[in-house]
């Protein structure tokens, strides 16, 4: 055999041996790999890799919702009063951390201006207020000198963000609003802008700011001409018109403490104080104050009383601090409760009962009269008679254990549109007529919770607003006044 052939044969056999060994190794390796246990991939979300502002905002919102849900596990606040300072507190740390990580990639000098509103929110949540301001300045600088409407819209967006982000940025909002008010807005616009700031500060629990801004509102109102007072802009200001804007500002300046001090002397003194200030700042007659403060509370009448012995009594009870609460049942079904008897959506309705329960627990001598005009329905019960309806309401309210409560139900007169329409048209119940004062104050507004009146021991109406802390102060003052010898004006 030639040498060449032999060498080639050896070489070939070596190659075959190598190839076979490689195959065995690969086979073993692959079977070993197949037996590797499945490991769950890392699904941790790295939000710093998010590339758009929308994704960041959604991620931060998810973290925030998660934190809220987590908080609910420990405390369900449905029976507790709302905390006015809550909007001024910082968000939970994980929310700010999420915003910080996600927003790191966005530079306020180069970010797209179309993203300004969303990015501003993220900067504020991430505590990068300077960047938020820089972005807003860039956005405002991009507006041409003729773009007045656009400028106002951008500023409005920024104000809205400052007043809705947590914690609220009242300083920044004030800076923008004041700059606009002083930058050529007419007096009515300035008044509206100041009122907006005052309202936001009040809702955020910043009383010193709300009081300071309220003075600006009153000052502008004081300078209005009679034409301006009669203008559409004034009568449509706020939700109820310019006079009530002035009244709210006046209330803010006076403060519940001053009113309480006045109430300690007499109810008439407090009412006169408010009427005088109303007249002074709105240029209206003192009697035109659109709230029945200091008016005599009529005695409640009723066809059905719970407890039944209450039918022989006078309510509001003479000699007692009383609350008269009109139960507006016109939208009980749907707005207040759903079909399930396990409804948790009923907080909106039952918050009233929790509030009254807190009051009755703190002031055991309080006389509470719930006033009902029947509507011919109660949830999904077959259409009840007035007596049955009153009974159903009693059964519903009774388990909330509001001490000192009586329920008066009156069969409300009604008529029906002719068939085939057939709609029921309710007439005002006698009690609601008695508790409606002038054209502007109705006990049954028909859009929610009805009217509520705080009545003193002499039967005079003290309060109709029911800010929880102020009301507690009023009742305290009335009780102290009684101990000190009663209403000095009535002596």
């Amino acid at each position: 055999m030639p040498t060449f052939i032999c060498q080639h044969a050896r070489w070939a056999s070596h190659r075959v041996a190598h190839f076979a060994a490689l195959c065995v190794a690969l086979t073993l390796a692959s079977s070993a790999a197949a037996q590797t246990r499945f490991a769950w991939p890392d699904t941790t979300v790295d939000i710093s890799k998010y590339t758009t502002v929308d994704l960041c905002l959604a991620a931060v919102q998810r973290v925030r919702e998660g934190q809220i849900a987590f908080g609910r596990q420990g405390v369900w606040r449905d029976t507790m009063p709302s905390d006015p300072q809550e909007p001024l507190r910082p968000l939970p740390a994980p929310v700010a951390q999420a915003a910080t990580r996600c927003v790191a990639r966005f530079d306020p000098r180069t970010a797209k201006l179309t993203d300004f509103a969303q990015l501003m929110q993220l900067y504020l949540v991430a505590d990068r207020d300077a960047d938020s301001k820089a972005l807003l300045d860039r956005r405002l600088a991009a507006i041409t000198t003729k773009g007045t409407r656009e400028r106002i819209a951008v500023e409005d967006s920024a104000v809205l963000i400052y007043l809705s982000v947590q914690p609220r940025r009242l300083d920044a909002a004030e800076q923008l609003l004041v700059a606009r008010a002083r930058g050529g807005a007419d007096r009515l616009d300035r008044m509206a802008l100041y009122y907006r700031l005052m309202d936001a500060a009040r809702q955020a629990g910043d009383t010193s700011r709300s009081r300071r801004v309220a003075k600006w509102v009153v000052a502008v109102a004081d300078s209005l001409t009679s034409d301006e007072r009669e203008s559409d802009k004034f009568t449509r200001m706020g939700s109820e018109g310019g006079n009530l804007v002035v009244f709210a500002a006046m209330f803010e300046i006076v403060g519940s403490k001053t009113l309480t001090d006045s109430l300690r002397h007499s109810t008439k003194a407090m009412a006169n104080l408010l009427r005088t200030m109303w007249s002074q700042f709105t240029k209206e007659r003192p009697e035109a104050l659109p709230f029945p403060l200091g008016e005599r509370a009529p005695t409640i009448t009723g066809d059905f009383w719970y407890p039944r012995e209450a039918s022989g009594e006078k309510h509001p009870a003479p000699g007692h601090v009383s609350i008269v609460e009109f139960v507006d049942a016109s939208r009980l079904y749907g707005a207040c409760m759903n079909d399930s008897p396990w409804s948790a959506i009923s907080d909106y309705c039952v918050s009233n009962w929790y509030f009254l329960r807190r009051l009755s627990n703190r002031f055991p001598g309080l006389d509470i009269t719930l006033v009902l005009g029947t509507r011919g329905n109660f949830l999904h019960a077959p259409p009840p008679s007035p007596a049955e309806e009153a009974e159903l309401y009693h059964n519903w309210i009774d388990p909330y254990h509001i001490k000192g409560t009586v329920l008066s139900a009156t069969a409300r007169p009604f008529w029906n549109l002719p068939e085939p329409d057939g709609r029921r048209v309710d007439k005002p119940a006698p009690n609601s007529v008695a508790y409606s004062f002038g054209k502007s104050f109705s006990s049954e507004q028909g859009n929610g919770l009805g009217g509520r009146y705080l009545v003193d021991q002499d039967g005079l109406i003290v309060d109709v607003f029911f800010n929880e802390s102020a009301t507690f102060g009023f009742i305290d003052a009335l009780i102290q006044r009684e101990k000190a010898g009663g209403d000095r004006a009535s002596k």
Binding site: A69, F70, R72, Q73, W76, S330, R331, Y333, G334, M337, D339, S340, P341, W342, S343, A344, S346, V350, R375, G376, N377, F378, L379, H380, A381, P382, P383, L392, N395, W396, I397, D398, P399, Y400, L417, P418, E419, P420, D421, G422, R423, R424, V425, D426, Q445, G446, N447
Partner: protein, 499 residues
């Protein structure tokens, strides 16, 4: 009912095989089986509260063909069990399964309870509220053994019988046959053995069948369609439907273009039902009393309900031709209505006068001192006359005969002005005779205008109005019994190319 279950000795960590298998001979659940499943679910609940169970079962056999060849023949069935747990101090949670062995049901109940706990919204009963009223259900029987028993082989034979004549003539046919049957039941652990409240649904069963087909020529110049749906397969005659589709295809070949404009139209029943759907969707009373839709009249400043003035409606006013009465009868199985405790025979239009509009229980309670919603015009009968379509044609000097409409969209809620297309056969009538096929047209017209421009009415007949899986999804069926009609001045606004 036989239930095949596997042993519970599966290795831990391995996913168990599905254990819910219906025996072949039974395709839907009986009342006793549903009640037994509900009882077992109630027993698995932990932590108190209420359990609500909805149990549905259905079977569906279908056959589809296109270009003269069957493309799909199926026989499907399923069970759906939806469990709602309302757990005190936790929340409300829901879970679904289609397996009903003990292990699967318990697992689903636990899942619903986990979902309730995850909701983080503690619940507690609102005290002192009245119980749900007890309901009385009308006895309806939308059940047909012939529909339930329609086999795959029979459906194949039916398809063959309608494909062969079309193929013999060189046409292309496409169509669909379906036989559907199902059951539904919804009960609560608060009322496990009845009497049932109005929110419960006692066991009920139903069938639905449909057959429809399109025949076209090879050149695509002519198209004929026919179809019918009913709870009862016996009332559907596929041979007649097939012959009608072929005849319409032949007659609609080589259409001419016609100038759009106002024409007298003869609408076949299917076209009437297509057009009426716009009215069906407009029958909400709350909309009418909010100033929207066609049935609003005007604001009545003299009357207030709460702080708002009242919108008067057209209830009680004559709004359409006095020859038209449209009603609904829950006891008529042709209208395909599952029993509900508040249902009653109802007239929507009585001799042209608007008599009833749809409203919810919420509305009824708040405004009418009633405790029952009112059904909308879902499943209705429209009165007619005695004139046949042939007689309508014979009495028409110049007009159009419409087979059906498609793609109808409402353009204006107040007038119900709508637009849509004619399809599958449109013919010009001249001097009392069909003179030629016409290319399809787009119409822009209000059905209210049509119902006020009626010249002649024919005998009402059921039409093709199927809604797939309606009961499972909670969508009411809209079967209709309508007449052909002849109306003047129907507005066509453009020509379209589709055949």
């Amino acid at each position: 009912m036989k239930i095949r279950t596997t042993s519970s000795g599966t290795a831990r960590g391995r996913r168990a095989e599905p254990k819910r298998l219906l025996a072949d001979e039974e395709r839907i659940l009986t009342k006793e089986e549903c009640e037994a499943i509900a009882r077992r679910i109630f027993a698995f609940a932990r932590g108190g509260g209420e359990t609500q169970v909805q149990i549905g079962s259905w079977t569906s056999g279908e056959l589809r063909w296109a270009r003269n060849r069957v493309s799909l023949a199926s026989e499907r069935r399923d069970v759906q069990i939806e469990i709602h747990r309302l757990v005190p101090d936790k929340g409300a949670g829901q879970a679904s399964t289609n397996q009903f062995d003990d292990e699967s049901l318990e697992s689903a109940v636990r899942s619903a309870e986990r979902n309730a706990a995850a909701e983080h919204r503690p619940m507690r009963p609102t005290p002192g509220l009245p119980a749900w009223p007890i309901g009385t259900w009308p006895q309806t029987a939308i059940w047909s053994d012939s529909t339930y028993n329609l086999s795959t082989e029979t459906r194949g034979e039916v398809a063959r019988s309608v494909i062969e004549p079309a193929e013999a003539k060189g046409y292309l046919s496409a169509g669909y046959i379906e036989a559907h049957a199902g059951t539904t039941m919804r009960v609560s652990s608060e009322r496990p053995a009845g009497p049932y409240a109005v929110v419960d649904v006692p066991y009920s069963k139903w069938t639905q069948a449909q057959c429809s087909m399109t025949v076209r020529d090879q050149q695509g110049s002519g198209s004929g369609w026919s179809g019918l749906s009913s709870y009862d397969w016996q009332s559907i005659d596929p041979a007649t439907l097939g012959a009608r589709a072929i005849q319409k295809c032949e007659a609609s070949r080589n259409p001419v273009v016609l100038e759009p404009g106002r024409y007298t139209v003869i609408l076949e029943p299917q076209a009437v039902a297509n057009l009426m759907q716009v009215i069906v969707a407009s029958m909400g009373r709350i909309d009418a009393e909010s100033g929207g839709g066609p049935w609003t009249l005007a604001v009545d400043d003299a009357v207030q309900i709460g702080p708002q003035p009242v919108w008067r409606t057209k209830l009680g006013l004559k709004v359409i031709d006095e020859r038209i009465t449209i009603d609904h009868d829950p006891f008529d199985p042709r209208l395909g209505v599952l029993p509900q405790p508040w249902m009653e025979p109802l007239t929507f239009f009585d001799k042209g006068v608007l008599m009833n509009l749809e409203y919810t229980r919420d509305y009824a309670i708040t405004y009418l001192d009633k405790n029952a919603p009112r059904r909308g015009m879902w499943g209705y009968r429209m009165s007619g006359g005695t004139t046949s379509v042939d007689e309508m044609i014979a009495s028409t000097q110049r007009g159009l005969l419409v087979t059906r409409f498609s793609d109808i969209r409402n353009l204006d809620g107040g007038s119900l002005l709508s637009t849509g297309l004619t399809r599958d056969g449109l013919w010009l009538i001249e001097h009392g005779k069909i003179s030629k096929a016409v290319k399809n047209l787009r119409f822009t017209e209000s059905p209210l205008f049509v119902l006020n421009s009626i010249e002649q009415l024919g005998v009402p007949v059921p039409v093709f109005r199927p809604v797939r899986n309606a009961y499972e999804q909670g969508i009411p069926l809209t079967p209709a019994i309508v007449p052909p009609l002849k109306a003047r001045d129907f507005s066509f606004t453009s020509t379209i190319d589709a055949i």
